[in-house]
Amino acid sequence: MANSSPQIGGCGSGICCGKGKETFKAGVWVTNPIAIQILGICSALAVTTTLMNSLVMSIALTFVCVGSNLFVSLLRDVTPRRVRMIAEVAIIATFVIVFDLLLKAFYFEMSEQLGPYVGLIITNCIVMGRAEAFALQNPPVVSMLDGFANGLGYTIVLCAVGFFRELLGAGQLFGYTIMETTSKGGWYPQNVVMILAPGAFITLGFLIALYNALSGANDSEGETTP
């Protein structure tokens, strides 16, 4: 996790100091916040019962992450080091409140379904982790990009989990029936456990294993601790 942010300082050219691309790649794939750093798991498990919920949650997190990274980065020179944590939490909480109020005003049903998990973005380690590890040392634009990339990495994993859970658990995607379930006279015997809590753990477990297999993340270390 220590190498999660690209090297500090050494600005190149361009608006992102020449490290836009690697920042982006790191956030989305190489140090994917969920699969590699295992951060922000709570919401990844809780809201992924349907694909739609996963998508809204991902938008929320990306919004908060970009916004908080921007402001943490803008204020990085004037924030005293000792109170930086509480300052970060205050910035993050502000963005979460903004999003929560927007959701309540325009998509009340969705807000009811997500329940306390929107508020829980405050303690989502991804947002806090990016603010702490990246935005504190980097200029605003590249910090925003980092927030966006990590939000996107989160989105990919969340949507994958949501895809499998909704498809296998309810035979639907975005609420549209893909496979007619037996309860409605179709052919697909519904796997209710996928919608329930255990399905979330097991789906994410398999997805992380798949990620490891694809990226060879476990190969180099040999014996990792279980």
């Binding site: 295992i38 809780a46 509480i86 909480a93 109020l101 405050i122 809590a197 398999f206 490891n212």
Partner: protein, 195 residues
Amino acid sequence: MSDVSPWVILIASIFTSNILLTNFLGMCSFLACSRQVGTAIGLGTAVIFVMVCTTAINWCIYTHVLLPLGIEHLWFIVAIAVIAAFVQFVEMFVERFSPRLYHALGIFLPLITVNCAILGASLLMITRHYNFLQSTAFGFGGGLGWMLAIVLIAGLRQKMTYSDVPKPFKGVAIVMIITGIMAMIFMGFAGMAKI
């Protein structure tokens, strides 16, 4: 919803709606600190203590300060500030009066501020419209349930060091899967108490 006995809530939050296994709260520290049973017990104890106190304090603040003033939308920021301040306070207090306990719990206390189970318990008790006693029972039961889950998984993980796990599943992946199986087992309690 709001006339359930606190005892029922206590039992329900330990078994039927375990805060970790059904609400997925506190996963980060759960994954990070469940390698050793001893660590798990230490962290669990700290979580129980902080959760009971913060649910009680937060309930009082929400009902007696935020509601009369009509500023419920500030609830998130108030809740997390109370939790952060409380944890800081407890840390100083324990350090001053019981150095032994401080060494046992000390490293876990800062972790608890960002433990979403603590904030989650505070947010859930408001969405479920609990009264004071119910909230405190929920805080205690939630903490106890969280500790139960993490200690059980830590025991399994210790045993698992001897088993031959396929390479891609090593690490977090297999822990997620055994947690899923554990959640299935806890589903067996469903119907025992309902909240």
